[in-house]
């Protein structure tokens, strides 16, 4: 292994972020949602579209919005007309991949100011249900003929994790309770519930045991955007830039039936890459706040372990002890995460990056964590339990 991959020309900072509401169904088109988020991010940075050199777009499967060439389509609302535009896609990991791609645009010296936009409109895939569209993810020869529902793989991963680590459903449900309560401080949130209890999760509809309805994030529409700039530009734009200190991403094989699902290797490798760049050797001590990907409650625990924020099988214990609460020693998903704010896939991942940005700047208001924040982390995951994307940010 190389010591630290520091072969880039420019340090890169985030200088603005924007979000739409996250809702089950929003009236706005995908282009309109992209525009609302992009405009807010530019305004927060005090910039106009004229200041932007390049645009990076992220969106998950085309099948949700029901538009092929979704990147080209979204470019209209994302400020990309007449500019170099690229769309990136790694399934659910896309949202955190958007700032990674935007980072290399700036770090390489190719562009000075980049607008990065993520959008998802799951409500378009209305009939019979957005879940049905996910069948295109399965292997067409050995899996599709079994008529799978996408929840199967998560239920299998969750159950394997429960079996190997001896975790109870009650412990996992605590994550859903925490995040849905946290979401009450988020102006975009779809599923704030200040009174939710563990029993509500355990009594919710059983979908694919061990997954119940309140273990899983909702179907959502929404968009998010951030503005990235080179060091020189960032210092001109704001007194409080938030630096991207490390990035990492990896893919594991699509042949998910050949590997152990109890530990997310793809996240560990992505985190190692990001930590090496950021100079982090003890994440549990050096990361002040984290937004690991939580489309399911067990996933937050799983990803904490992959990120080295907990030892293997330790995340449920930290959660039970309150360590991961907003006022805890290691606040996890203070935004409310996908379980609370909602899950417009790519936009949800970028929402996590925006959350770390606002937490580090002390602008999260009702959601601001109690401890001082110098370094934060956002992570997403996608496809057949394969893709891991990690961004480490700090002052």
């Amino acid at each position: 292994m190389t010591s630290r991959n520091l072969n880039f020309k420019h340090r890169v900072a985030v200088v603005g972020a924007g979000l739409t509401l996250f809702r089950r169904r929003l009236q706005e088109t995908p282009q309109e949602l992209a525009w609302l988020a992009a405009k807010q991010a530019l305004e927060e940075a005090g910039l106009t579209l004229k200041d932007i050199d390049c645009v990076v777009i992220g969106s998950a499967p085309d099948a949700f919005d029901g538009v092929h060439m979704k990147g080209e389509y979204l470019a209209e609302g994302a400020g990309g007309i007449g500019k170099p535009v690229v769309r990136v896609f790694v399934g659910g990991a896309t949202g955190v991949f958007v700032p990674i791609a935007a980072w290399w645009h700036v770090a390489s010296g190719l562009c000075k100011r980049v607008l990065a936009v993520a959008e998802e409109k799951m409500s378009h895939a209305a009939k019979p249900h957005p879940q049905y569209v996910f069948r295109y993810i399965w292997d067409p020869i050995v899996e599709k003929p079994l008529n799978p529902n996408l929840l199967w793989i998560f239920a299998m991963e969750m159950h394997r994790y429960m079996y190997k680590c001896g975790v109870k459903k009650e412990d996992i449900a605590l994550v859903s309770v925490k995040n849905k309560r946290n979401a009450c401080g988020h102006p975009s949130a779809q599923l704030c519930d200040p009174n939710i209890k563990v029993e509500d999760v355990l009594n919710s509809e059983v979908l694919v045991w061990p997954v119940q309805r309140l273990d899983v994030s909702p179907v959502s529409d929404g968009a998010a955007a951030v503005v990235l700039a080179s060091e020189e530009e960032a210092r001109r734009i704001t007194d409080t830039p938030v630096w991207i200190k490390g990035i990492g991403w990896t893919l594991d094989t699509t042949h998910w039936t050949n590997r152990d699902l109890a530990f997310p290797e793809y996240v560990r490798r992505a985190a190692e890459m990001a930590y090496r760049m950021a100079g982090i050797d003890n994440p549990r001590k050096q990361i002040d706040v984290a937004e690991p990907y939580d489309p399911f409650d067990y996933k937050e625990l799983h990803h904490m372990e992959g990120l080295g924020l907990a030892r293997k099988c330790e995340a449920p214990i930290l959660t039970r002890e309150g360590v991961t609460q907003r006022d805890g020693d290691l606040p996890i998903n203070p935004s409310g995460g996908l379980l609370g704010v909602g899950n417009p896939i790519a936009a949800a991942g970028l929402m996590k990056v925006a959350e770390i940005f606002w937490q580090i700047r002390g602008e999260a208001g009702a959601r601001q964590v109690k401890k001082p924040v110098y370094t934060g982390l956002a992570q997403a995951w996608g496809d057949l339990m394969q893709a891991g994307t990690v961004v480490v940010m700090g002052i």
Binding site: A126, V142, P148, L151, L261
Partner: protein, 176 residues
């Protein structure tokens, strides 16, 4: 101050003309090629065999098979026949269909780690298939009794096989 400030968006119920329905895919159907490796795998199923491939460099056995070892990035060396028996590594009970509609009966599905004579496998990488588990109830899933259970492939009668993963009806529990 709480960011984001006044995030915008119009909840759907408030709109006068919220959607325009259009069947994008309509009657279009895919015809997926089976490929060299899975083509032979399906032919094997029709004969009642579960086939895999071996990379002799790293010792991995691939079920479902591929023609290359994606780790050593070289062509596999040979084909092997896996046993019809294996061990359940994870298992769930599905109460919903692919469409999200409630299922009439819970369906038990899992990942089966297959035995291959002459090889042994750890938990890290193994020949494994997704399939239905039969001879077990959703209560056996919830109690976690099925983890580590021994199962055996129940093939359809030869005349009903057509070269599909569904030529195996399910993996039947032989020893809990």
């Amino acid at each position: 101050m709480t960011k984001p400030r006044n995030p915008r968006g119009t909840p759907y119920e408030e709109a006068a003309f919220p959607v325009f329905e259009f069947p994008v895919v309509g009657k279009a159907r895919y015809e997926y090629t089976t490929g060299q490796a899975l083509g032979r795998f399906l032919a094997g199923l029709r004969e009642g065999k579960i086939l895999g491939t071996v990379c002799k460099k790293c010792g991995r056995v691939f079920v479902p098979p591929r023609i290359y070892c994606s780790y050593c990035f070289r062509e596999v060396d040979e084909w092997v026949e896996a046993s019809h028996e294996g061990t359940v590594v994870t298992v769930v009970a599905s109460y919903i269909e692919a469409t999200r509609a409630r299922a009439a009966e819970p369906k038990i599905v899992g990942v089966i780690k297959l035995d291959v004579p002459g090889f042994s496998f750890d938990d890290h990488f193994f020949p494994g298939l997704l399939h239905y588990i039969c001879g077990a109830s959703d209560e056996d899933v919830k109690s976690m009794k099925l983890f580590g259970a021994r199962v055996r492939a129940r093939f359809k009668p030869p005349e009903e096989r057509k070269g599909s993963i569904t030529d195996i009806e399910c993996f039947e529990v032989v020893r809990p």
